[in-house]
């Protein structure tokens, strides 16, 4: 049996699955909308991977990442649960070993990762401001009545640049409307917005950091030619920007690689029949101490599967063990692995 490794990246907007072999080569991948329901998205992804699963292979280890990494870790059965910064960096280093900077722009957050000699040296992550992310672009595309897929091509048709002000989506929007009233065409506005997004990304994340090439540009937004061009223009072509073909699934690929690197005896993988199970999330406020934690419970077919949110530790491992759920990841464990 061939050993294969599964990586799952459940983000706020999209969910990605990647299946790799022992040489880190991608065998199969999928890219789906999360649509606000990560469990449904996870099931869809599993179904896709299962239907394209090589006959002579067996899953050896699973890694999850993304903002719903803990949930995905329990549902799929992960051997390693990693933050998205590490996962993206690992994938970028695998794809372009000499990479020195990673730009990752997703739906609701963006990341800048500095890499020196194949090791992450510094990173910045933007989680509260939408001005440098895909949702900014998507929102403005709706206003322009342009499908987001066409946005990049539209920007490429611009004959002149129009500067759209805004370190904030709200100001950018009012300025964009103003520029429309002045009579600028849609291509110029699209180009102006792309440049505004790039400026916002740099201003928010790269202040006082030295950006060196080659830059690997990944995440959903990297599909947008207008943004790639805007980055190119911003650095006056002095910095090489690489958009890998698998730019959309880099996080999931990174999670799969981490699963490969950290794989130990046995796997926690729950099997493909997870798609037939019923998952439910409930929560309650624990008022036993002033922390007033909100405890989130995940149930599988009515049985307790996992608990989150307890600060004092009262609602964690013991309960999981009692119900026979495999202890999917204790943070101290991976800190100790060398």
């Amino acid at each position: 049996m061939r050993k294969v490794f599964l990586g799952v990246d459940v983000g706020s907007v999209t969910t990605k699955f990647v299946l790799i072999d022992g040489e880190k080569k991608i065998l199969n991948s999928c890219y789906l909308k999360t649509s606000g329901d990560p469990i449904v998205a996870i099931k869809h992804g599993l179904r896709h991977i299962h239907s394209h699963f090589p006959g002579d292979a067996a899953i050896r280890a699973v890694g999850t990442t993304g903002s719903a990494r803990h949930l995905a870790g329990v549902v799929v059965g992960a051997d390693i649960v990693k933050n998205e910064i590490t996962a993206h960096a690992v994938a970028a280093i695998t794809r372009v070993p000499e990479v020195r900077t990673v730009f990752e722009i997703g739906g609701q957050d963006s990341k800048l990762i500095l890499i020196r000699d194949g090791v992450v040296e510094d990173f910045a992550m933007n989680t509260i401001c939408a001005a440098g992310t895909g949702s900014f672009l998507e929102h403005q595309a709706v206003r322009l009545n342009v499908p987001i897929e066409e946005f990049g091509k539209l920007a490429a048709r611009a004959t002149q640049a129009v500067r759209i002000a805004g370190r904030c989506t709200v100001f950018a929007e009012s300025d964009m409307i103003h520029k429309q009233q002045l009579g600028f065409g849609k291509p110029e506005i699209a180009k102006g917005l792309s440049e505004a997004l790039v400026r916002n990304f740099i201003n928010n994340l790269a202040s006082r950091k030295t950006i060196e090439g080659p830059v690997v540009f990944q995440g959903g937004v990297a599909a947008n030619q207008g943004i790639v061009q805007a980055f190119h223009d911003f650095f006056r072509g002095e910095i090489e920007i690489v958009v890998p073909p698998e730019h959309g699934v880099m996080g999931a690929w990174g999670a799969a690689i981490l699963a490969l690197e950290y794989a130990s005896e046995g796997t926690s993988f729950q099997g493909f029949n997870v798609v037939e199970r019923d998952f439910q999330t409930q929560s309650f406020g624990c008022e036993d101490c002033p922390n007033s934690c909100e405890i989130v419970i995940l149930k599988e077919d009515g049985l307790l599967k996992a608990l989150w949110g307890s600060r004092c530790g009262k609602w964690t491992p013991e309960i999981r063990e009692k119900t026979g759920t495999k202890n999917y990841q204790e943070p101290t464990q991976y800190a100790g692995k060398q």
Partner: protein
């Protein structure tokens, strides 16, 4: 004379020491309930939006204290380029505007009017008390406060190293609880001895060299775990030994007339090549402590401060220079009521990954130096 029923802001375990001191001074205290979501909501609703987070949380403390029957509020003030000095005044006006008829006692630094300081101090005590008893109580309260910090120190250092962090947490919680019942120096001594003995017997993992991270930042956010998402525990659970350069003991010691905190003076001396003037708040301490952690070979520094905190934002820029010179990774975390736990956890996890990978692949290779 009427007995005051006073409430005060929470700061780490300050309430334990004050709970011991005040009854001796002839004041009834009404400690505010521990900081909770409700405390924060109350404070955020009434405080100016642009005020920094500690003002909002302590305002919430006062409101909850008043709800529980307090008629007096004790607050410390200060003068300097940081807005903290003005908190008390603002909070007083807010409480008055709400129609609360309370006595607001603001203790300012003696440097800015010794007479006023003494007056405030007098009104913070019941008026009638034995000086000798008060002095004894103050010394014991001080020792209690120091012991609470010692206990917190064990937690930071040992969480990652003990095989059973839950047992350690329980031990510390119980000790803090017992500390509330202490009434004499003898009782305190025996409690200290007992707890230290118990903790030294905890089985520890000495087989591996744990990552070490130092915490610097603004005095309130860096210490109040109910505000900073308990970042120390998170680091501990990721296998990191933590040291916190911020301490209420040192802060108060330095504020007392005729005393100086040697820790603070040392940090200021170390900060001098980068910053040689007072920029308000704990700005200079943050820079100096970062230099100290670099000298001590720490793997990284976490910088905690309230969002919009001016001294810390200045310090943040300067700390970048320190980080470059010593090749020391820094993680800056700005906290306010909008801060989300998920984003913070992701950043802390990634930071620990960075430190681990640097150790594994060797930081020297990266070219040390500025």
């Amino acid at each position: 004379m009427e007995v005051l029923k006073a409430t005060f802001p929470h700061l780490a375990h300050l309430d334990i020491a004050l709970g011991f001191l005040y009854p001796t001074l002839g004041v009834d205290i009404v400690p505010p309930p521990p900081i909770s979501k409700k405390t924060i909501e109350l404070g955020v609703k009434l405080a100016p939006q642009n005020a920094c987070f500690p003002l909002k949380v302590t305002l919430g403390n006062f409101l909850e204290g008043i709800e529980q029957g307090a008629d007096t509020v004790f607050m410390v003030g200060g003068v300097g380029p940081c807005r903290f000095g003005y908190y008390g005044e603002i909070q007083k006006v807010i409480l008055e505007d709400m129609g609360h008829r309370i006595k607001f006692v603001l203790l300012d630094h003696p440097r800015y009017g010794f007479r006023r300081f003494l007056d405030a101090l007098r009104s913070m005590t019941g008026g009638r008390f034995s000086f000798i008893r008060a002095k004894r109580a103050a010394i014991l309260a001080w020792r209690i406060l120091r012991f609470t910090e010692e206990l917190e120190g064990y937690l930071r250092d040992l969480r990652a190293r003990t095989w059973d962090p839950q047992q350690l947490e329980t031990m510390v919680t119980q000790s803090l609880h017992r500390l509330r019942q202490v009434s004499s120096p003898v009782a305190l001594d025996s409690l200290c001895r007992e707890v230290r003995g118990e903790i030294s017997l905890l089985p520890k993992d000495n087989t591996r060299d744990h990552l070490r991270v130092g915490i610097v930042g603004e005095v309130y956010v860096a210490q109040e775990r109910r505000i900073n998402f308990d970042v120390e525990r998170l680091l501990g659970s990721l296998g990191v030994r933590v040291h916190n350069s911020v301490s209420t003991v040192e802060y108060l010691l330095h504020a007392l007339p005729f005393f100086k905190s040697t820790e603070k003076l040392e940090a200021w001396r170390l900060a001098r090549p980068y910053l040689n003037r007072f920029i308000g708040g704990e700005g200079i301490d943050s820079v100096g402590s970062t230099v100290r952690y670099a000298h001590q070979g720490y793997d990284g520094v976490v910088h905690l401060y309230p969002f919009t905190c001016m001294p810390e934002v200045v310090a943040k820029g300067i700390m970048g220079e320190v980080g470059r010179d010593y090749d020391l990774p820094l993680l800056h975390l700005a906290i306010d009521e909008h801060a989300g736990e998920a984003g913070l956890v992701t950043r802390v996890e990634a930071f620990v990954d960075v430190l681990e990978r640097r150790r594994k692949f060797g930081r020297k290779k990266l070219g040390v130096g500025g």
